[in-house]
């Protein structure tokens, strides 16, 4: 026989033996943890229970984790048998028709069986849940957080690490360090580093403590600021114990982190100002055209926005599960595509276009049906459009119900990233870029197209424009439809950040008129400036004065400003506005 072959056989055999024995040992460990847990559940003494749970720290058994989670929620049950034996059990997640489920014995992970060997079924409401106290639940939570450090989702890992770090428990250090070696996600890595330094900060020895404090400062750890401040208070009260060096390190780190946060706040405030300004601008731009350029006091502008929002809701329904509503008592059912994930997320792009078209159509009807008879009579147009707004509101109520409807944010518009601790939401970034986009689009339309030329011509001098052959009637119609379409897009956009309900329009109409009047009627640059001014001022004031007072001051300032400059920021001279 070949020597090498024999050797290979021996090596393979040895490896197999090692694997088998380790598997066996592992199996034994797993059962050991299960037994500890089962004993802890039925222990009478609270401290013994805590000790038992703490021993589970190294368990990687899925059943133990599941049982602990269930215990915390009161879904772990204790079954008392005839012989007064207490058996902790967990119910299977699959239920039969009567709501009964199989029971898993914690001790060994086996299904509980009757005498004849069939699996016994239990109803959750018949069983006694294992007792918990808040102390116990907290310990369980910590244990679950330790397990969660191995969660496949980075966000869950990070949350778990942050929470564990804040416990400042030196027992967790080896776990953090072990995790740090294998962690790949940069955010979790950073959180681990913070957690390690935060835990070391509580160390008795200044040699461990001080570098950790400095490291937290270097990390700009906002999460640790609270702890650093607390520690500084303790340390300054007892400088003999903690030493000047620690206090200095603390102060330096606190100043550094606060500086970091200050910048975050500045950027955050500016960003939020831009975002609010964009919301106002998007909402008011349509009105800047219908009221500003055409001089129609359109009180139904808000409801045209709501048309856009409801269009978004309907498009969402068509992309998703389908939609059912009743139009004047006739039930209408639209079958959905049943899309999920990226397919569903695409609804928003379609919704933006659809809402423009729907709102433009509504605007067209409104112009042809009512407004064109009232161009020379602004007061009557005010009343008539207000009536239209009431009618539209009732139609929404009738069709979609009085309650708000849910328009889901597509996944690319949910979530945020943080800049120095200030959250920057993706939906807000979208709103800002969308505002820039439609302002630029409107600018191009008004200055670079023949329709734009005609619109401006009609606005400046209707009769003259008519004389040189511009079909003013048609231009009016197109302009009004354009303004309404923009309002519809605004509604679609607002569905991502605000409520969609029959009264959506009401909450924006005043703001819209305010922005247009403040900016100067008939001037789109004015509308942009006014919304920026109002949005920024509002966001800068709000952290100082609160939302209520902030708003009052902004409104008061606008009134004073209009006293000083009744025509708004930019004054436009135009015949149509004078007439």
């Amino acid at each position: 026989m070949d020597m090498a072959f024999l050797l290979r056989r021996i090596v393979i055999f040895l490896i197999a033996a090692v694997i088998l024995s380790s598997l066996f040992a592992r199996g034994q460990d797993t059962n050991e943890f299960r037994r500890i847990l089962a004993a802890a559940v039925i222990a009478d003494d609270g401290d013994a229970q805590l000790e038992g749970i703490k021993q589970l720290i190294n368990s990687s058994d899925e059943l133990v984790a599941r049982a602990l989670a269930a215990w915390r929620l009161g879904e772990l049950y204790v079954l008392t048998t005839g012989a007064d034996e207490k058996i902790p059990i967990l119910l299977d997640s699959r239920l039969d028709e009567e709501g009964r489920a199989r029971a898993i014995r914690i001790r060994d992970g086996e299904y509980l069986k009757g005498e004849t060997g069939e699996e016994k079924l239990f109803l959750a409401s018949d069983l006694t849940p294992a007792d918990t106290t808040s102390r116990l639940r907290r310990t369980i939570k910590t244990m679950l957080d330790l397990y969660a450090m191995a969660n496949p989702m980075p966000r869950m890992r990070r949350d778990a690490v942050v929470k564990l770090g804040q416990e400042q428990n030196p027992d967790y250090l080896p776990h953090f360090e072990a995790r740090q070696k294998i962690e790949t996600d940069p955010e979790v890595k950073r959180a681990l580093n913070e957690a390690i330094q935060l835990t070391r900060m509580a160390d008795e020895s200044a040699a461990v403590r001080n570098p950790a404090i400095i490291a937290l400062g270097e990390l700009n750890s906002i999460n640790s600021l609270h702890f650093l401040k607390q520690f500084r208070t303790t340390a300054t009260n007892d400088p003999a114990k903690y030493g000047q060096e620690t206090i200095q390190a603390l102060t330096a780190s606190i100043v550094k982190i606060e500086n970091h946060i200050w910048w975050g706040n500045v950027v955050g405030t500016v960003f939020r100002g831009f975002s609010l300004a964009s919301v106002l601008l998007i909402a008011a731009l349509g009105l800047a055209i219908t009221f500003g350029l055409m001089g129609v006091i359109n009180m139904a502008h808000g409801e045209v926005m709501a048309v856009g929002s409801y269009t978004a809701f309907m498009v969402q329904g068509i992309f998703g599960t389908g939609l059912m509503f009743s139009l004047f008592g006739n039930p209408i059912r639209i079958k959905g595509f049943g899309l999920t994930g990226t397919g569903f997320d695409a609804y928003f792009v379609v919704a933006l276009m659809a809402s423009f078209i729907m709102a433009a159509l509504v605007g067209l009807l409104l112009e042809r049906g009512i407004i064109r008879f009232l161009y020379k009579r602004p007061l009557e147009s005010l009343l008539a459009t207000w009536g239209v707004s009431l009618v539209l509101q009732q139609i929404f109520r009738h069709t979609f119900g009085a309650a708000n409807v849910q328009v889901d944010s597509p996944s690319f518009l949910s979530g945020s990233f943080t800049f120095n601790g200030s959250p920057i939401g993706f939906n807000r970034i979208f709103v800002i870029s969308f505002a820039l986009f439609i302002v630029y689009g409107t600018y191009l339309l008004l200055t670079k197209t023949s329709l734009g030329l005609q619109i401006r011509a009609v606005m400046q001098n209707r009769n003259m424009a008519s004389c040189v052959g511009v079909r003013t009637d048609r231009v009016n119609m197109m302009t009004f439809a354009l303004g309404s379409g923009l309002a519809g897009m605004a509604g679609c956009c607002l569905s991502q950040i605000a409520n969609v309900g029959p009264s959506l329009g009401q909450s924006y109409i005043v703001d819209c008129f305010m922005i247009v009047v403040l900016g100067g009627v008939g001037n789109i640059v004015g509308t942009v400036t006014a919304s920026m001014g109002v949005g920024m001022t509002n966001q800068i004031l709000e952290p100082w004065l609160g939302a209520v007072l902030g708003k009052i001051i902004v409104l008061g300032a606008i009134i004073l400003f209009l006293q000083w400059r009744p025509a708004g920021i930019f004054v436009t001279k135009s015949r149509s506005l004078e007439g």
């Binding site: 942050v162 919301v279 309650a403 993706f426 309900g501 209520v548």
Partner: protein, 416 residues
């Protein structure tokens, strides 16, 4: 045919018609009961459900034979008025119910301001009002019975729960009106009593209908950065959506900063997309998801009733009941409890006279869907309190129960 003859009568003999109607009403042995909830205007969305549940309860009682007083069975005849979310109109309608319709009792009001308008009217006319919606306390009228949660039944238990969960920092956020302001004032005192320093309590208000929660959520995120923080929200109505959307977008969750909301019940969820609210907490004396035989029956019967709404035994046409997507919630349960307590008290007093019924109401017990309640001398209930976690389905899963919490309107009594 009857209709034609009636209309003929109407044209010819208005007086005769009036007499004949009074006669027919008197013959049926009925007792008039007022329902004072807004059926139009901004509050209609909340209050219409209470009108529905009241009519349902009247139907339940009438089906069971009515109220036994003086050896006779009286059927409940509802008089429904619409104060249209207009506070002074609440006072006028209450006056009309008491003086013109001569109702034995009024069930009504949602907002505290509407109750404050009705209070002098019921006191002047010695009427009786049952008030079913959680409120800020600091009030006690001889003529009002508050089946509603008092502050110590709704605000204090979740704060205790949060303290027990190890929360050390509290962000009190509310809509700017009397209920949040008073509740937060009491909570602040309570938290200080529990050793939470001023620096760890923040109190913020936003106007009604506020939509822009960026700044507040950024502030909460900073506040919660050190851990152990929670939000106690008394935000009202649909302002909750922009708030919770912004909250979720900023990466805050019920794990790192739970929100306890006092103003969101199952019924509000019908108008609130629940996705972003899941995992946060609510605290009420009743949840639709409670598993008791009484609750199973209540939910089942009510859901059947809305499909075919009527009040048995009396000539009353029920209108405006929406059968779609109905739920039960705490104010609805408390409305129904109020009617039953009043019925029991009238039977005990053997009279519908306000003074006698009032005396009989004290100590009256009723085994409701959420367990037994008792009317105390201070006109508030002893009731079980539940803390529930919001599920994506718009229901609550009970995570903590406080048994038999005695309602106390005056905060100085429990801030000791």
């Amino acid at each position: 045919m009857k209709k034609t003859s009636l209309s003929l009568l109407k044209k010819l003999f208005p007086v005769a018609l009036a007499t004949s109607l009074t006669f027919s009403a008197a013959a049926a042995d009925t007792v008039k009961v007022g329902v004072l909830h807004s059926l139009s205007g901004t509050m209609a969305i909340s209050e219409t459900s209470l009108k529905d549940v009241l009519l349902f309860t009247f139907d339940e009682i009438n089906k069971g034979g009515g109220i036994k007083v003086g050896g006779k069975n009286y059927l409940i005849e509802p008089v429904v008025v619409d104060p249209a979310s207009d506070w002074p109109l609440f006072a006028e309608k209450a006056e009309q119910l008491l003086v013109k319709d001569k109702v034995a009792v009024i069930f009504g009001c949602w907002t505290s301001v509407s109750r404050k308008f009705v209070l002098p009217v019921v006191e002047r006319n010695n009427g009786l009002l049952f008030y079913p919606v959680q409120y800020e306390g600091e009030e006690l009228s001889q003529n009002i019975f508050y089946t509603a949660e008092a502050v110590n039944q709704q605000a204090i238990p979740p704060v205790d729960y949060m303290l027990a969960e190890g929360k050390k920092k509290f962000y009190l956020l509310g809509s700017d009106y009397v209920y949040p302001r008073t509740t937060n004032k009491i909570l602040k005192q309570y938290l200080k009593m529990k050793g939470i320093p001023d620096s760890d309590i923040v109190e913020i208000y936003t106007p009604f209908g506020h939509q822009d929660y960026q700044t507040i959520v950024a502030a909460i995120k900073a506040f919660a950065a050190g851990g152990k923080a929670c939000v106690i929200s008394t935000l009202n109505g649909d302002t909750n959506i922009p708030f919770f959307k912004e909250f979720a977008n900023a990466g805050l969750t019920s794990e790192n900063c739970p929100v306890v909301s006092f103003s969101i019940s199952e019924d509000e969820f019908r108008g609130l997309p629940a996705k972003e609210l899941a995992g946060h907490l609510g605290c009420w004396t009743y949840f639709m998801s409670l598993k008791t035989p009484e609750n199973d029956k209540f939910v089942k019967d009510f859901l059947a009733w809305v499909k075919d709404p009527k009040v048995t035994g009396v000539d009353f046409k029920v209108t405006g009941v929406d059968p779609k997507g109905r739920v039960t919630c705490s104010p609805m349960n408390l409305s129904r409890i109020g009617v039953n307590l009043w019925k029991q008290a009238a039977e005990k007093a053997d009279s519908f006279e306000v003074d006698k019924v009032r005396a009989a109401l004290i100590g009256q017990k009723f085994k409701g869907p959420a367990g037994e309640v008792t009317m105390q001398e201070n006109h508030h209930l002893v009731n079980n309190v539940f803390i529930g976690e919001t599920l994506p389905s718009g229901q609550f899963k009970v995570i903590k129960t406080f048994n038999a919490v005695a309602g106390e309107p005056f905060s100085e009594k429990f801030l000791k």
